[in-house]
Symmetry: C2
Subunit: 500 residues, 2 copies
């Protein structure tokens, strides 16, 4: 029979902190640790609760409570008339585990390394020019937004509540349907709207719902890395990169490369990152293919509200609502940290998108959905967009002017574009745009290189410059630094005071 532990044998019991209270819990923790460390061995008999209470100067109830807890947890075993013992186990795996782990770090699961690279690639840019979209000053939704929020959170539908509709709050879905019908000629009802946390979730949901394992999708080349990364790492679907020319997606090339693709991911209003709209002829060819092939078009309309010349193109969805999934976001016209956007599905696919969303995260948060619904219903959103558009138009004009002034056209030139909150600055062939981005970052300027957005082999060097959230002065200073980096990399000497 194993020895009988007594209080004296357990030095750890001396560590009970009487001033801290909760002595029962402290005692249980101490005994637990002693068992884990092997100071108390399986089968070992513990002193009676009466004896232990006496020797520790605790009430007997406190000790009984601690024992009961440890019995419930399986650390101790108690039989009537036979006292309480340390429970039998085959081994001491916890301690062994700790030792082994220290000796040889565990092998990571297969998908982990790829996801870790994604985290690296998407690391947030610092809040300096030319990071895209940091609302600032007059472009932040103002008092109306804040007051509505305070009011609805106190008493209204935005107050704390239970599990909401996974598809999104009905008042917001109605407001979104009204808004896209009016502003984008999208044909839909509220039951086709799925509230998302933004374009990224919309793209993710599309890959989940539209693509079976191994099924292929056309993806523009170049494209937003948010979509290429999902298809690369998301376990479902595969990307076929289809080149973009001055009319947008080259549908003929798509037909040659993968006529049997199940979906096409496109940015027809304002190709990301290049900036041109898709021509009407291409739109028709694309819809024609989708109809013949029974494929789906995902229309990512991420910044159509910010158009500075002419009218915005009407959405593809308005021409073929039954074959197009339309994606929009409030990140650009309100602010990114809101995390609200929308997906408009053909009616027969809306339940599938809702189910896919349920598995990912059940439903969107409640409060901001109701605040946004009221903000839209009361007409604030459209007023806000008009104001923001005016401000951004001025920022854009100013940045274009500054860049043209600071950089010779043979070294860097702007891609023409009428829309959005970024400009694309092409760099002279041979310049390494990722290197430029790194050196710019070191100089306190945030830019994204465009070459990683191309499929391997077709890359051209360029930089994506956001002009959303910065003052003219901030942008002027950043542009000077950027020009210096580009000139230095091109081997040019910086003329004193810049080029005028």
């Amino acid at each position: 029979m194993p020895r009988k532990a007594n209080a004296i044998d357990l030095p750890a019991l001396g560590t009970l902190d009487r001033a801290a209270g909760a002595l029962g819990r402290q005692l249980a923790q101490t005994l637990r640790e002693a068992i884990r460390r092997g100071e108390l061995k399986p089968g070992e008999l513990l002193p009676s609760t009466r004896l232990l209470a006496q020797s520790l100067q605790l009430s007997r109830g406190t000790v009984v409570e601690a024992f009961e807890q440890l019995v419930a947890e399986g650390f101790l075993a108690s039989r009537p008339g036979a006292g309480t013992r340390v429970a039998a186990t085959e081994a001491e795996p916890a301690t062994a585990a700790r030792k082994t782990a220290r000796a040889q770090p565990a092998a990571l699961p297969a998908p982990a390394a790829a996801f870790a690279r994604v985290a690296q690639q998407f690391s947030t840019l610092p809040h300096v020019p030319f990071a895209i979209s940091v609302p600032l000053g007059a472009t932040v939704p103002g008092e109306a937004w804040r007051r509505l929020g305070n009011r609805l959170r106190a008493r209204g539908e935005a107050a704390p509540s239970g599990y909401g509709d996974p598809q999104g709050a009905l008042p917001l879905r109605q407001a979104i349907a009204d808004y896209v019908r009016r502003s984008r000629s999208v044909r839909c009802e509220a039951q086709q709207v799925i509230v998302t946390s933004g374009t990224q979730q919309g793209l993710y949901l599309c890959c989940q719902v539209l693509l079976g394992a191994g099924e292929r999708a056309w993806v523009e080349d170049p494209a937003y890395s948010g979509i290429t990364s999902i298809l690369e790492h998301g376990a479902r679907g595969a990307a076929v990169r289809v080149p973009v020319d001055e009319e947008g997606l080259d549908v003929e090339a798509g037909l040659r490369l993968a006529p049997d693709a199940r979906a096409a991911f496109v940015t027809p209003s304002h190709q990301y990152p290049l900036g041109m709209p898709m021509s009407m002829a291409r739109r028709r060819a694309l819809l024609d293919w989708a109809q013949r092939a029974g494929a789906w078009i995902v229309e990512d309309d991420y910044d159509s509200e910010l158009r500075y010349a002419g009218h915005p193109f009407p959405a593809l969805q308005g021409i073929a609502a039954q074959r197009v999934v339309y994606l929009g976001t409030f990140s650009k016209v309100l602010y990114p940290s809101l995390r609200l956007g929308y997906l408009i599905a053909p009616p027969e696919l809306a339940p599938a998108f809702t189910g896919a969303r349920v598995l990912m995260d059940r439903s969107p948060p409640g409060a901001d959905q109701h605040v946004l619904a009221a903000f839209m219903a009361e007409g604030h959103l459209e007023r806000h967009i008009r104001r923001v558009r005016g401000i951004y138009a001025e920022h854009r004009r100013q940045l274009m002017h500054t860049l043209a002034r600071l950089l010779p056209a043979e070294l860097a030139w702007l891609q023409p574009s009428d829309q959005g909150m970024h400009l694309l600055l092409w760099l002279k062939e041979g310049l390494d745009d990722t290197q430029v981005a790194r050196q710019a970052a070191a100089a306190g300027v945030a830019v994204r290189a465009v070459s990683p957005m191309f499929a391997p082999g077709g890359a051209r060097p360029g930089l994506v410059l956001g002009f959303g959230g910065f003052s003219g002065e901030q942008m002027e200073q950043a542009a000077r630094k950027l020009a210096r980096v580009i000139r230095a990399m091109a081997g040019e000497r910086q003329p004193p005071g810049g080029r005028r």
Copy 2:
């Protein structure tokens, strides 16, 4: 040469609404529609802008603007000296597409039907007893929560901002790390915390990161359908159902069924839905297997704050932090519509979880993260939990008493449990619990049947009853209705006034 259209040929042009303004846009829309409908044919020459302006009594600038827009969109083509024509296309796919679609509805993509079933299965219960967790009255976070929110949204870190840290706001990750260290003996630092939108997202992320294609995972039988559905429909991983007995997961059975599984999803504090804790012996055996097999344990600790007797079990994570991914949520102790929870990863896996989250939805919304961080840092959360626990303990006691009073023990009996915000009411063998749930719903009572949470073959009938968000009176009334349904289904006659 095709005929030359003139204004008279286009009846739609008569529909311009001069009072509504934006005549250029109206004109462009009218011409666009005429081209789509085939009233204007490819190659057809349009009247000059001068003539059209004259005949429509518009300014010439307005007509020029509309033409330019349609040229940009590809509807029209313009050559200097040769006038403006409807652009050439090979076909009229848009119209054709509409016709075809009407004739034969498109085939749905392969994954769509399964996701649509998920949406059905997870449809939200109405806000009546015994739906789980609708915060009400005293269990809603009160004035402190609201005031903090209003203050931080106006000027603080919760104000509108740009793209946030995909891993979650640092102050919240720090507050969570402090909290789980203190309350659950979880060993972690802020860099191991990934802020999620709740347990569902945590489970989804675990499947993404821990399981390669086709790799298997142990899942409790019965289990929360949120995890079984992900593995069934999520394209990655596969569930091996491992039975649960009175000590929790039967590790020996798991070893027989799938010793090579890559992960185990468990609810060791409070098995869902049955309610027992996992014994210490089983915990050890599970950790031992995980260590030997290099497998990962996902510890879903969804309601450990709500413990009504004894101390909560310390987390598995505290014993083997390097092999356990720990999941917690604020849905139970604050409110579900907040959509905030957390995942504690072994340090070497934190970047992978962050990357997987980036692909799903970039980052959590900003504002509530900062409000919650302040709420926790100022000690409000722990005070709130103490209050909620007291209220729920009383609700629970009352519901247990009411059910025992209204239902004979041979027909329905409660599973013993010390924790959580639901009770499990077992039903007599042979009763169809899904049928009971349907009839209860018709009587205005929301319950979930437990049999669908079992793997096929092993199901036992029972009901999950939430007691979180309802008054004693509401629960009493609902319990009477439920008892009536159960008695009727069992063929018993309802004694007048219920059984006392």
